[in-house]
Symmetry: C2
Subunit: 161 residues, 2 copies
């Protein structure tokens, strides 16, 4: 199977939106955002990026592959931590510039900080909010699933300021 | 309330990841990706972007606001179509460079093509895939919730090739 042949050419808006041919749009850096949710619970686990090769590998292996912007390399999720993501369903959006992965997670965690989901904090919202100080986040996960120092052992933290 | 005061300064990785101060990261274009799911079903509805003002408006009004890259303007979702999104929960990820909105959708649709979700097509995946032609998408929604030509009446289609 050839990476360059499974992606169709983007010819018209109607073809991209209403057609049944995979014709993904990669941005100026060659990336497409990927949103990953837990197949059973629907919880949003993470938001990352794929390049064409990562999308090809995700499609053809059934395991989530991303492109690490901090390492500038293909990132087989779970290769270091063991927390692989098995793809149960892979979807694409209307204009084909975003991927949705519905996955089962080996080990039950997807966040490099050690939590189940990367989205472990809530931002207060609504018309009652009145403050002129930085808003205070509320933690919705209270225990880490794993200890990142043990699992990643000295690997650089991908978070950038 | 001052837009410039509710967002904290990003000082350290530990503060950003483990702290309880909202300190979002906007990219070189001033944008942060936003993932929107249906509060009840967990379905991924759409993936869009916010600038600081759109995030501020989402937080302070409780209704989803995005930044339209095609129109280069604040986009109060549903202002044209009536299909507003009421925010039930607003979350942020580990490195605070992605927003998750859990919403109730007035009118039951979030996609400008007329479908409930923007993700109305599945990409085949798994180790059985063997083809050298563009992959064939499968529609998982079969009826549009609304007629976009009627609702948007001549407004330009945001999809870009």
């Amino acid at each position: 199977m050839d990476l360059n042949k499974i992606f169709g050419e983007r010819k018209t808006v109607v073809q991209v939106e209403e057609g049944n041919e995979l014709a993904p749009k990669f941005d100026a850096l060659g990336l497409i955002p990927a949103v990953t949710t837990d197949y059973d619970s629907g919880e949003l686990l993470m938001h990352a990026y794929m390049n064409a090769e990562a999308l090809f590998l995700s499609i053809t292996t059934g395991e989530a592959h991303y492109f690490s912007r901090s390492r500038q390399a293909i990132w087989h999720k779970g290769a270091t931590s063991g927390l692989t993501q098995k793809i149960r369903e892979l979807k694409i959006d209307d204009d084909q510039d975003c991927i949705w992965l519905r996955v089962d997670v080996a080990g039950g965690a997807s966040c490099h900080v050690g939590y189940r989901s990367c989205f472990y904090r809530t931002v207060p919202s609504g018309s009652g909010i009145t403050t002129d100080a930085p808003l205070e986040l509320e933690f919705t996960e209270h225990e880490k699933v794993f200890d990142p120092e043990e699992v990643y052992q000295g690997a650089p933290n991908p978070t950038k300021l």
